[in-house]
């Protein structure tokens, strides 16, 4: 069990404070989705936790050790920046070996893990943006560490590779803390169990995603029967009948009513991502 604590952290660039008095404690191994609009302070938060930026005041403590002053504790953190951070003049294999020599691990193993063998001898500058991103992500998996800070890992990636990376992180999160930043709300909802919402350099919300209640849920129901006479539904987007409910339980009751009326429901889904409302109000 690992513990990450931020105590009244103020941090930023050129003496300009971006994070304001941030306090946070994370103990449970899981994926914590860090959400917030551009410029909210997500990257600054990651850089400060990784010990790349030294806080102006306050402290970041991981397993009882101050991150900014302890080189050893920083070696237990894996940080993926949204910059690729790979020497472009090298081949994929040499770039991964370059980092493996510094941080440990094996280039061959990580090439296999992320199915990058076909790119092994290609120069980084010859790769597409998506391929570069995959190599960049690969370097973070060279060696397993206790805390993962992953900043937008799936940008430029196609769905298959995105899922591959999410699966690895989900496996790692069973006994480690993973902080995961993304602008993809569906991905956030899919991968995360906890949400950290950053707003203007402060933590506006830190909560389990399952506990997040919205003001209104819009549920889409696909059926060949006109159900507008049975429930308060309107034929709407993408061929769904749309029902507004105040809670997921109410959606269950509507489904029960429809079944009792002999309606064959072929699909029922939540139309908006529960994180959308939070994101828009951030």
């Amino acid at each position: 069990m690992h513990t990450l604590e931020l105590h009244n952290v103020n941090s930023g660039y050129n003496k300009k404070t971006v994070l304001h008095d941030v306090s946070l404690t994370i103990q449970e191994p899981s994926i914590y989705v860090v959400l917030g609009p551009n410029g909210a302070g997500k990257t600054t938060l990651f850089r400060t936790i990784a010990g790349i930026l030294e806080p102006y005041s306050g402290e970041v403590v991981f397993d009882g050790e101050n991150v900014a002053s302890s080189r050893d504790v920083r070696k237990r953190i894996n940080y993926l920046s949204h910059y690729n951070a790979i020497p472009e003049e090298m081949t994929v294999y040499n770039a991964l070996t370059f980092y493996a020599n510094m941080q440990g691990g094996s280039a061959d193993e990580v090439l296999e893990l992320l199915h990058l063998q076909e790119l092994r001898d290609k120069k980084i500058y010859d790769l597409s943006q998506g391929q570069k991103k995959r190599v960049s992500v690969a370097k973070v998996f060279l060696q397993e560490r206790d805390l993962y800070l992953i900043d937008e890992p799936t940008s430029n990636l196609d769905p298959g590779y995105s899922k591959e990376i999410r699966d690895i992180l989900m496996k790692l999160s069973k006994d480690r803390i993973v902080l995961y930043s993304t602008h993809n709300l569906y991905e956030a909802n899919d991968i995360g169990t906890n949400l950290i919402l950053i707003k203007n350099g402060t933590i506006a919300l830190s909560e389990k995603i399952a506990n997040i209640k919205l003001r209104e849920y819009r549920v889409g129901i696909r059926t060949s029967t006109d159900i507008s006479k049975i429930v308060d539904a309107k034929k709407g987007e993408q061929g769904y009948y749309v029902v507004s409910v105040s809670s997921p339980e109410e959606a269950g009751r509507i489904l029960k009513t429809l079944i009792e009326h002999g309606v064959l429901v072929t699909e029922m889904r939540q139309l908006e991502n529960p994180l959308q409302e939070l994101y828009e109000t951030a």
């Binding site: 660039y13 990784a50 940080y79 790979i86 040499n94 980092y99 020599n101 001898d121």
Partner: protein, 238 residues
């Protein structure tokens, strides 16, 4: 397949050279001119008086000091450009995330610059001996010039590298130039050695060049000592 070595400074040298091959060509050209100048003057114009106590042959031999120093500055430009490239690409940020401090990082590039200077100077010294023996002009003066050039080049390269890393202003290209402003600094610091070769008697010129090297070396050491304060971690971020 070419494997990477494990010594960070050597890797940095290899990466720098791979990234800026044109600077290597320029450096070799200037070093070759310096070798020819040092030996031609010494072999064929020795004892030919110029004005006052200045001898033409000695002046030409000592002209090889700034030429060799400029070759060293050109060669190490590849390392300085690599630093800027790694910074902009997020590589330095990743180094920090691996537990390195800013000192570990800039010393890696500084060491790479120093290694390149020493490699060049070793090559120039060997070439001076070989050419000196072929031309039968003697090797003492060309080797003295190489020694002075080594002192000057090491101090200028150290200062230039430290200054570029400390002041991000020097990393930015300026109007009309596509290279960082700091590179001009190296060229500027070599200038006095061109003048001393022609206006001062040999021994005085050598003394002035060495004095310049000592002053610049002192400035480099001062920058190095202050570097942990002057180079904050955020200066290494893209």
């Amino acid at each position: 397949m070419r494997q990477l070595g494990r010594k960070p400074a050597i890797i940095t040298v290899k990466r720098g050279l791979a990234l800026s091959k044109s600077y290597v060509v320029f450096a070799i050209f200037f070093a070759s001119v310096a070798i020819l100048t040092a030996n031609f003057g010494n072999a064929f114009l020795r004892g030919v008086p110029g004005n006052s106590d200045v001898y033409v042959g000695t002046s030409l031999s000592l002209l090889s000091v700034p030429l060799t120093a400029i070759a060293a500055v050109m060669l190490t430009t590849s390392v300085i450009l690599l630093y800027v490239y790694d910074k902009n690409n997020g590589v330095l940020e990743y180094f920090l995330s691996l537990g390195m401090n800013q000192e570990d990082i800039y010393k890696r590039y500084l060491k790479a610059g120093v290694i390149l200077v020493l490699l060049l100077m070793a090559g120039v010294a060997v070439a001076n001996v070989a050419v000196g023996l072929v031309l039968r002009g003697g090797v003492t003066l060309p080797l003295v010039a190489t020694g002075v050039a080594t002192a000057l080049a090491l101090s200028i390269v150290s200062f230039d590298t430290m200054a570029m890393m400390t002041f991000s202003l020097l990393q930015k290209p300026r109007a009309g130039a596509n290279q960082p402003l700091g590179l001009a600094l190296g060229g500027l610091l070599v200038l006095p050695a061109y003048l001393t070769a022609f206006i001062l008697p040999g021994i005085v010129a050598v003394a002035v060049d060495l004095a310049e090297a000592v002053i610049i070396a002192a400035l480099s050491i001062a920058l190095l000592l202050l570097s942990s304060r002057l180079i904050s971690r955020e200066k290494l971020l893209p």
